[in-house]
């Protein structure tokens, strides 16, 4: 089998406002027990890619807290690894702190492992994706670079600002431009690329000449639009959950409460691994009323919860009524509080105010650690 290095890319992520102020998008809590990056890392792991790096833009401690030693994603802990790379020299120059600059700073990891292929995948398109099929497609076409895309019929509303691709009959991408919502039917780049080692090095070399502000996404577009290297398109026809804004984040979370959607994201024999925290099972009190909700271990629910996502070690006291809420790790909702469309961030406490309400369009966010 070919030697493959999987890169989980935490650079160049969509802005999520308050939610990503204290953490990178990749470690943002999702569906009560995951971090977004679990999907990417588990896809590597399930595809038998045992050598992984995380390219961190900043806030490495939040990533470390989530991945711990990384062993849960690794099959053989001697030959496999999960390394976290941070480009320290450029931390105070965020514009230049690109994924390309980061891998260049740590280029020895490429030299030492000498992979045949390098796969780069972001954390904001959630899917159960078998990279082995991508590698097969890439090899069959004798491609240097292949880009994964999905077809959408909602390009006017979804995947805004993502790259929209024009693809020739021979599966080579002829043009790439940002989706500004013109047209429903579009081919959307999932910013997931496989490079041969040579093509990877070519892109790195070229980036030095084109712009030191460009990351991989822009460089691949440049390569496509300037016809430097043929870039093949591989269609992923499975279920994709794009998390491109805080609206998406809440909306997609609630959508996944529906069984039929969940079945499309979580496939049989395709486990999504995440860090274990040794929390006890969830506990439900005598007056608990729980409907259509996800509940993580360690949660104690004594009140009413409907259409909610309740993370680890959350406490919902008796008489509290929560509808369409997302509660992060260790948050607390006191007795008789009424919350609707509220996201209570990590370790925040709602114990003073009686009612809190956001809306479907804009979920109200109670900041990390805040006490109200």
């Amino acid at each position: 089998m070919s030697k493959v290095l999987g890169i989980c890319n935490l650079h160049d992520t969509p802005s999520m406002g308050q939610l990503t102020k204290t953490r990178p998008l990749g470690s943002l809590s999702f569906l009560s027990r995951y971090g977004l990056m679990d999907f990417t890392l588990s896809n590597f792991s399930n595809s038998e890619i045992d050598r992984m790096v995380i390219l961190a833009e900043n806030n490495i401690s939040a990533i470390r807290n989530h991945t711990l030693d990384g062993n849960i994603w690794i099959n053989n802990t001697r030959t496999g690894f999960l390394r976290i790379l941070l480009n320290e020299p450029l931390l105070d120059r965020p514009k230049f702190n690109t994924d390309i600059a980061n891998i260049q700073e740590h280029y020895s990891i490429i030299e030492d492992n000498n992979p045949d292929y390098i796969i780069l995948a972001p954390t904001f398109f959630l899917m159960s994706f078998d990279f082995r099929k991508l590698i097969e497609f890439h090899e069959e076409n004798g491609a240097e670079i292949t880009c994964v895309y999905t077809k959408t019929n909602r390009g006017d509303k979804e995947y805004l600002n993502c790259d929209s691709l024009e693809i020739a009959k021979n599966n080579v991408i002829t043009h790439s431009r940002a989706n500004v919502g013109e047209g429903k039917k579009q081919n959307i780049s999932l910013e997931t690329f496989i490079f041969t080692r040579e093509a990877f090095d070519k892109v790195l070399a070229l980036s030095g000449k084109v712009s030191s502000l460009y990351g991989f996404r822009k460089m691949v577009s440049y390569v496509i639009n300037h016809h430097r290297i043929p870039v093949y398109a591989y269609e992923f026809d499975g279920y994709v959950v794009p998390i491109l804004s805080s609206y998406d984040y809440a909306d997609k979370s609630f959508e996944l409460l529906k069984y039929e959607n969940r079945q499309k994201l979580f496939l049989e024999n395709w486990p999504i691994y995440t860090t274990s925290h040794n929390t006890p099972p969830a506990l439900y009190g005598p007056k608990a009323k729980v409907k259509n909700s996800f509940v993580a271990n360690g949660a104690i629910i004594k009140g009413e919860v409907e259409n909610c996502i309740i993370s680890r070690d959350v406490i919902v006291e008796e008489g509290a009524v929560l509808k369409n809420c997302i509660l992060f790790y260790g948050s607390y909702v006191g007795k008789n509080k009424k919350l609707e469309y509220v996201l209570v961030d990590k370790k925040a406490r709602v114990s003073e105010v009686k009612n809190l309400a956001g809306s479907k369009e804009k979920i109200l966010i109670i900041k990390q650690g805040e006490k109200i």
Partner: protein, 375 residues
């Protein structure tokens, strides 16, 4: 390197009173409280007490238990000076031996203990549910300069004749041991948790091994012999929740004690000094459906609850389908209660399917076990 304390966990019991649950699994590996296995409790207690060298004495159907014990990582017992190993009976030049009794299990592993060269040996049982730090007991053993210290718990005097009873003097020094006495002299029952000064115990084990009349058992042979010889035997009064889960009824009740959250055994300790560690599953979070309900219960990740659940323990990947009703049930991993089925006071073994509309044990107080072999 010599170590202060080495713990030895007796985990070889056949557990016949747990019926089909222990047909292919050793009793300490039976699942408990939706997420755990019974042996997680003594192992986590050791880890939390800073006792990082532990031998698990396995015997009956040990493959599953040996694999579970593994390298100790689940309990953090894989650190630089830590050692967790399962010790099955050896095959030696003289042939293969089963452990002939609790004391023989230790005797057969004298080399393991000699190598670790502890000052004190803590003997534990692999099938007790309790949370504790052993440090106070060990301190008492050292402070009283005892040769052996036995952990005791106060039981209802009417129940005392079911236990091994310790009669003590005013300083809690043990003066007499009565095994299941008709007329108990106290209500202090032995928990089967012992601290021995290793040099003393070693001598007694070697002597006991040479005695053809001995059953090679701590309760029947070693402890009475030590008392007879006038050794200093101290009782340590354990306060708190402790259960031997040797029968279906006691296993069910201990599960209920946690589900009903009446403060008997707190798994949710916030300061994390006595947290119980276990192996996690990679299941999706638990999901409660639009018409499901769950009260007075605990449930683990991967559980799907679409029906009605009250006073239950629901393990990972168990499914309670629409209109199914479960009361006072322990539903083990991967079991499925199909549409409209009603189950009461039952333990549902792993991967069992209760068919649609089936009614089990309704209106009865006795606990039933439903396994793939039937009731």
């Amino acid at each position: 390197m010599s170590k202060k304390v080495v713990a030895m966990i007796l985990a070889g019991g056949k557990g016949t009173r747990l019926e089909a649950l222990t047909k292919k699994t050793a009793k300490p590996a039976v699942s408990f409280a939706a997420k755990y296995r019974i042996i997680d409790f003594p192992l986590s207690n050791c880890a939390n007490s800073g006792i990082n060298t532990v031998g698990v004495l396995t015997q009956y159907e040990s493959t599953d238990l040996d694999a579970y014990v593994g390298n100790g990582e689940k309990w953090g017992l894989n650190g630089v000076h830590a050692l967790l190993t399962s010790l099955a009976p050896r095959q030696t030049e003289e042939g293969a031996n089963w452990y002939k009794g609790t004391a023989d299990a230790i005797t057969q592993n004298l080399d393991f203990l000699d190598e670790n060269d502890p000052e004190y040996v803590l003997i534990l049982s692999g099938d007790h549910i309790y949370k504790t730090l052993y440090n106070d007991m060990i301190d008492l053993h050292i402070d009283t300069e005892a040769d052996a210290t036995i952990s005791v718990i106060e039981v209802d005097p009417k129940e005392a004749s079911r236990f091994g009873i310790m009669a003590v003097d005013k300083n809690d020094r043990i003066v007499e041991f009565q095994e299941k006495p008709k007329q108990p002299k106290s209500n202090l029952a032995s928990m089967g948790v012992y601290v021995f000064t290793w040099k003393v115990l070693r001598k007694y084990l070697v002597e006991d091994a040479a005695d053809p009349k001995s059953e090679h058992d701590f309760g029947n042979n070693i402890i009475p012999k030590m008392l007879n010889d006038g050794l200093k035997m101290q009782a340590y009064r354990f306060k708190g929740y402790w259960r031997d889960v040797g029968t279906l009824a006691s296993l069910h009740q201990a599960n209920m004690d946690i589900a009903l959250d009446d403060g008997m055994l707190d798994l949710y300790d916030v300061d994390r000094t006595t947290r119980i560690y276990t192996q996690d599953t990679y299941s999706v979070p638990q999901y409660i459906g639009p018409v499901g309900s769950i009260t007075r219960s605990i449930a683990n990740q991967g559980a799907i609850i679409l029906g009605k659940v009250d006073s239950c323990v629901i393990s990972s990947d168990a499914v309670i389908e629409e209109d199914a009703e479960c009361t006072r049930c322990v539903i083990m991993r991967g079991a499925r209660i199909k549409v409209g089925a009603k189950v009461n006071n039952a333990i549902i073994a792993p991967d069992v399917v209760v068919e649609a509309g089936e009614e089990i044990n309704l209106g009865k107080d006795e606990i039933v076990l439903i396994s793939n072999g039937g009731k």
